[in-house]
């Protein structure tokens, strides 16, 4: 049997052979050493008892005999005939290497995992594990994250010396704020979700680490030397959270990420929150928002009418509306708003599942109320003072019990008749995903599904495309066969806004991204998404693409501290990657194209 040397088949920047050789020379666990598969904390010395994960290709019968003779305490797992997986100490590895029965031994390099972090697809690295192509790391920039909470014990929130990279934290659910010193001294090491701003969901920890996480098991956030301003939100006062971040940032450049939203408004930038964001942004103060995941959720209808045209569209109210983190009521509830231009005339009728016809009152009526033992309704018809002055109908359905009869949730219908039309455009949205869905209808639209506050002129709205469809998990390798790399994510909400503005501005990798897993969170219980031993999580959404852009803007702010939102958009537009999936001009799915981080920085 020919014995091959390590150098023949170990092509990592640092091979097992060199680790074994250098292990006796007080080698430190640098990123390169750890990327080669050595399980050491950053900066720690490499010892004989340091562990490395390897695959061993061998003559199985002979190997088993020799292994028994060596009497090693390490765990070996027989994956197939002649193939073993092992997590070995370096001392054991040195012995295994010498066995005649071993044909080949390979370290399980971190870069070999199917972990997508979007950095290659955005031009930040030429290939996984390669050196970043830009010098900016976010140093001197603050990244605000408004989200479900944060597991501050995760290594991605700490620098290479183990110091927390959090400038301050606001917990809107308790009203408490924490300084950097309090977090570092008083609360250090408290297990999630019991620590300040704890993350019982797992979303916020993941989002923050995408934007600015410290390198961890081969994954690194876009701006790993930025510092964080963190807000565990109550999901309602998100505008106060953004204001808090900018106030805390003071004169320092700051980008705030909002990976959340709703559809309660005119989708024309006119709500107080949307207008406020336009007021708050400034040179060096930028807001990034996810576009939403509602493209195919059937929560939007829209179309152009001519006089006398009549359309009916049915809908079903969900038995279990979203609750928990969003603190929404448990009994079924839905709010439908329908928007049209000031000079147009429409009439509307709501038809109940029992066939009762309820005319929507004439414009100027705040709310007519109806009810019985099962449900309360409110029907309003009001003027709207937005950028395109108009009118809107509001239909609120509030059921009284989660156990309402099934036939009362289904087969509601809205009948629309156009009386006169100058523009003739009508748009309708349910308040958010998961509350109610329209039945198939010619009014059902995939465009204009972008949510609030992404529709704000003050926010940079981010769509999602597929950068990776395979990932490792505690349940073994996973693959999403339903998506194509490079294509827009099927869920990614599309523009434009109702008043015709070009949003989203840019598309970022959002499917699937591997980043920090919050221990003890609900997402930690999903084995096909987690690598618990490595504290990593692979999930999808515009929630994930937005912090890619927020991280990119942190790098841009490092280069140009006075960067304005308009300049950031222009740099991303000019440098955006276009291909066979995207158009070469703005389009509703990709915006101006795919995020090109290095290109955008070079445009400044």
């Amino acid at each position: 049997m020919q014995k091959t040397t390590f150098k023949t088949y170990l092509n990592a920047s640092l091979s097992l052979a060199s680790i074994l050789q250098k292990g006796s020379k007080k080698l430190e666990a640098t990123a390169a050493v750890r990327a080669a598969g050595l399980d050491c904390k950053a900066g720690e010395p490499v010892e004989k008892q340091s562990k490395v994960s390897v695959n061993i290709i061998c003559d199985q019968q002979a190997f088993e005999k020799q292994l028994a003779a060596e009497n090693l305490s390490d765990q070996f797992e027989n994956l197939a005939d002649g193939l073993y997986s092992a997590h070995l100490t370096l001392a054991s590895a040195a012995k295994i290497v010498k066995l005649d029965s071993v044909k080949r031994i390979q370290t399980k390099k971190v870069s070999a995992l199917h972990l997508g972090n979007g950095t290659t697809e955005t031009g930040l690295r030429s290939q996984p594990g390669a050196t970043r192509v830009v010098s900016e790391t976010g140093k001197g920039v603050l990244i605000g994250i408004v989200d479900s909470g944060f597991d501050l014990t995760h290594p991605m929130f700490r620098d290479s010396s183990g110091n927390l990279r959090v400038e301050a934290l606001l917990d809107q659910t308790t009203g408490k704020t924490y300084s950097a010193n309090q977090l570092s001294n008083d609360w250090s090491g408290v297990a999630n979700p019991d620590g300040p701003g704890g993350d019982d969901n797992g979303h916020g920890t993941h989002v923050a680490s995408i934007a600015g996480g410290t390198e961890h098991h081969g994954f690194e956030g876009v701006a790993p030397e930025a510092r964080f301003l963190l807000v565990k939100t109550n999901f309602q006062d998100t505008d106060e959270a953004v204001k808090w971040c900018f106030t805390k940032a003071n004169a320092n450049p700051c980008v705030v990420n909002l990976s959340l939203g709703h559809h309660w408004g005119g989708h024309d930038g006119s709500t107080a929150e949307e207008v406020l964001y336009k007021t708050l942004v400034d040179p060096g103060k930028i807001i990034v928002t996810s576009a939403g995941n509602e493209r195919t959720e059937r929560i939007h209808i829209g179309g152009r009418f001519v006089p006398s045209q009549t359309e009916s569209v049915g809908f079903r109210v969900s038995r279990r509306p979203p609750n928990g983190a969003s603190q929404l009521p448990d009994p079924p509830f839905a709010a439908l708003t329908l928007w049209y231009e000031r000079d147009d005339e429409f009439t509307f009728t709501l038809v109940t599942p029992t066939g009762q016809r309820l005319p929507i009152p004439s414009v100027g009526t705040r709310g007519e109320r109806y009810g019985d033992s099962q449900v309360d309704l409110e029907l309003g018809h009001l003027y709207h003072a937005g950028p395109t002055p108009g009118k809107y109908v509001q239909i609120l359905l509030s059921f009284k019990s989660p156990s309402v009869r099934e036939n009362l949730l289904d087969r509601w219908t809205v009948q629309v008749k156009c009386i006169s039309a100058e523009i003739g455009r009508l748009d309708g949205w349910f308040n958010n995903s998961g509350f109610a869905t329209f039945y198939p209808s010619r009014l059902l639209e995939l465009t204009r599904t972008i949510g609030l506050p992404a529709t704000s002129e003050g926010c940079i709205a981010v769509a999602s495309h597929v950068s990776n469809h395979e990932w490792e998990s505690d349940d073994g390798p996973q693959k999403d066969e339903t998506v194509l790399r490079g294509r827009t994510s099927p869920f990614s909400s599309q523009g434009p806004t109702r008043d015709g503005r070009q949003k989203p501005e840019i598309s970022g990798p959002g499917q699937y991204l591997t980043a920090a897993l919050a221990q003890g969170s609900s997402l930690a219980g999903v084995d096909e998404r987690t690598l618990k031993a490595k504290q990593l999580l692979s999930i999808q959404g515009t929630s994930m693409s937005a912090p890619m852009v927020a991280g990119a803007i942190a790098l841009m702010l490092q280069k140009k501290r006075s960067l304005t939102p308009a300049q950031a958009i222009e740099a991303m537009r000019k440098s955006a990657m276009t291909d066979g999936h995207t158009a070469s001009v703005w389009n509703p799915a990709y915006g101006h194209g795919k995020l090109n981080i290095a290109g955008a920085i070079s445009e400044l």
């Binding site: 709500t271 109320r369 009810g371 959404g541 929630s543």
Partner: protein
């Protein structure tokens, strides 16, 4: 059979988070004074012309005389569920 009702869908004593934008001719300070006079203490001026309050629906209804009032909707996270 649904019948017309006079009662509101929501309890008027329910406290909600809302945003007030003073109507034309009304200053921020006038709105802030009115809120103080009515014992509404959870007030945060986010920017000129933007006032965040936590108040009862009844008080917010009264505030509509001099300010546009919007109850803040709940947001949802944008993680796509499988």
């Amino acid at each position: 059979m649904l019948r017309k009702k006079n009662t509101s869908l929501y309890s008027q004593s329910e406290f909600v988070s809302a945003r007030l934008r003073p109507r034309s001719g009304v200053s921020d300070s006038q709105v802030l004074q009115w809120l103080a006079d009515h014992g509404i203490s959870e007030v945060n001026q986010l920017a000129e012309g933007f006032i965040s309050v936590k108040a009862s629906r009844k008080d917010l209804h009264a505030a509509e005389k001099f300010a546009e009032v919007e109850v803040q909707p709940h947001s949802q996270l944008h993680q796509n569920k499988d």
